[in-house]
């Protein structure tokens, strides 16, 4: 099996794919990207927090026009995970049509290989698919 890296560092691949947040020890606010301090309370103590792998779609768009090299159409979604945090991601396993995507629909985290570099390393990305 080729070496794999996550496409972003808030995706953890082992043992099972999950997203992680950095959560403020002071107020509980969670963020996906590295922090200098907390945007909510100003605190500087954070701990990693493993996030739920299921959630629901709170917003989406179906992208038909993108930069050169970006395959269209695709569904871009904003998902509220069952434990609260809001994360972005593509919605896969649906037709990219308004009839096949619904606000509030239940989704689960899944992963796919988004690319391979010249060293043969695979970048693994996450996406959301309709909940089972």
């Amino acid at each position: 099996m080729p070496a794999q890296v996550p496409v972003v560092d808030y995706l953890v691949l082992e043992p099972e794919p999950r997203l992680k947040a950095v959560a403020c020890s002071g107020c509980g606010a969670d963020f996906l990207t590295r922090r200098n301090a907390c945007a909510s309370c100003g605190g500087a103590d954070f701990a990693d927090k493993s996030l739920a792998t299921e959630g629901s779609v709170v917003a989406f768009t179906i992208v038909h026009r993108a930069a050169p090299g970006v395959a269209v159409p695709f569904v871009s979604a904003i998902v509220r995970l069952d434990d609260g945090p809001i994360v972005p991601g593509n919605l896969i396993g649906v037709d990219p049509t308004p009839e096949d995507v619904a606000l509030g629909m239940g989704v689960r985290l899944t992963t796919f290989v988004a690319g391979t570099d010249d060293n043969g390393v695979e970048a693994v990305a996450y996406a959301f698919a309709p909940r089972g």
Binding site: T61, A66, I86, G89, A114
Partner: protein
């Protein structure tokens, strides 16, 4: 001496259009000189200049402009604040006058965005050896546009609109189409608008899809243009000719906010809370409520944005944006006309000019000088812009 109020004594905008033969300086100079003439003033009367342009502020647009229209040695502020750039330039002059540092000042905004295509869409690098190395604050090893959702402007604002529908199920995508129908229809009467063409709901729905539900006719139009205002203290106004005093428009409130922390706001940009906070502060400062407004120019960068700002600016009951639109209220013959200029979708959105052009629009109606598109008897109006990232600026103008 600190001024009690700040007044608009000169206002202008260029036609918004593709101006291939004019550069940003030409457009800024045209708007600035027209605003100065409108106020019966000259560059030599100005105590401060603020020049707004997202793409030209870093190059010293203000000083370049002075070298074309008057190097008088006054302080210059080059301003960039996303789509709130023009409003922030205006507010820079406003603050200086309120503080008593300046008596008269000029704010100019300009942009050339014709042909820029999709804003926010970074091109993929090609050629170099591909090796996955984490970069940026999210440690991405490759560009994530199209892999982890979309960050283009049409996508971000489509998602903002869809989030509104999710929270307010009585609203539907049909309302977004209706907003574009209204704004394109309004633009027919505006000689300064880029498109001036009415479209049916069917034509709007059938236009090329950009980011569902935003079709090309529901996106702000890339264009070239500039706008300018001359602002004045109360004391200085008393020294100006009576004809200038008679046409002066009072800035009853000038408010700029940024997006406060909300959960998830760093994932789906929050353009609502900053707008709501700016509106609430502006109404309080002006002693004017939404029920007192005669017209509103708000930031319809996409059709999906206008609907939520009816709610954010408290033009309707909480959650009542769809009813407000269905009632016909925001049409030019309705209870509270919104975007009678044609809005950003049809008038055009030259980013740095936008937040001054909407002040020009409202001030022109309050002066009774809006010609065919005049809202009769308009005495109080509100302008609003959003800079994604985010900022909100709200101005309440009163005659």
């Amino acid at each position: 001496m600190a001024s009690d109020h700040v007044w608009i004594v000169g206002a202008s905008m260029t036609r918004f259009a593709r101006h291939d033969s004019l550069d940003a300086l030409d457009l800024a100079a045209e708007a600035a000189l027209a605003a100065l003439a409108d106020a019966g003033t000259a560059m030599s009367d100005m105590d401060i200049l603020a020049a707004g342009s997202l793409f030209h502020a870093g190059a010293g647009l203000g000083q370049q402009l002075q070298k074309q229209i008057g190097q008088t040695g006054i302080p210059v502020y080059n301003v960039a604040n996303a789509c709130a750039t023009g409003a922030t330039a205006l507010r820079t002059v406003h603050m200086s006058i309120l503080a008593g540092e300046s008596g008269l000042g000029l704010a100019v905004g300009v942009e050339k965005t014709s042909g820029m295509g999709l804003l926010g869409a970074a091109a993929r690098p090609v050629g170099a050896k591909k090796e996955f190395v984490p970069a940026g604050r999210d440690g991405h090893v490759m560009p994530t546009e199209g892999i982890l959702g979309s960050q283009t402007m049409p996508s971000v604002f489509a998602q903002a609109g869809m989030a509104y529908l999710h929270a307010n199920p009585q609203a539907s995508v049909e309302h977004f189409y209706k907003i574009s129908e209204k704004n394109h229809a309004h633009s027919e009467l505006n000689p300064l608008a880029q498109y001036r063409k009415r479209f049916s709901l069917e034509e709007i729905k059938a236009a090329p899809m950009i980011s569902y539900p935003n079709t090309s006719l529901m996106c702000s139009a890339n264009t070239d243009g500039a706008a300018a205002v001359v602002l004045c203290s109360s004391a200085r106004l008393a020294t100006l000719p009576l004809a200038v005093q008679k046409r002066a428009v009072k800035i009853a409130a000038s408010v700029l906010t940024s997006d406060p922390y909300v959960p998830g706001g760093q994932v789906l940009p929050d353009v609502s809370t900053c707008t709501r906070n700016a509106a609430a502060a502006a109404y309080e400062r002006a002693g004017i409520g939404p029920e007192d407004l005669d017209l509103v120019e708000l930031h319809d960068c996409f059709a999906t944005a206008e609907l939520l700002h009816y709610d954010n600016l408290m033009l309707c009951e909480p959650g009542g944006a769809a009813d407000f639109l269905d009632s016909g209220a925001p049409w030019r013959d309705g209870r509270l006309p919104v975007n009678v200029s044609g809005g950003l979708q049809s008038k055009g959105h030259p980013i740095g000019a936008t937040g001054i052009a909407n002040v020009y629009e409202v001030a022109t109606h309050l002066r009774g000088e809006a010609g065919d598109r005049q809202i009769d008897g308009a005495r109080v109006g509100l302008t609003h812009v959003i800079g994604l990232g985010s900022s909100a600026a709200v101005h309440i103008l009163q005659k």
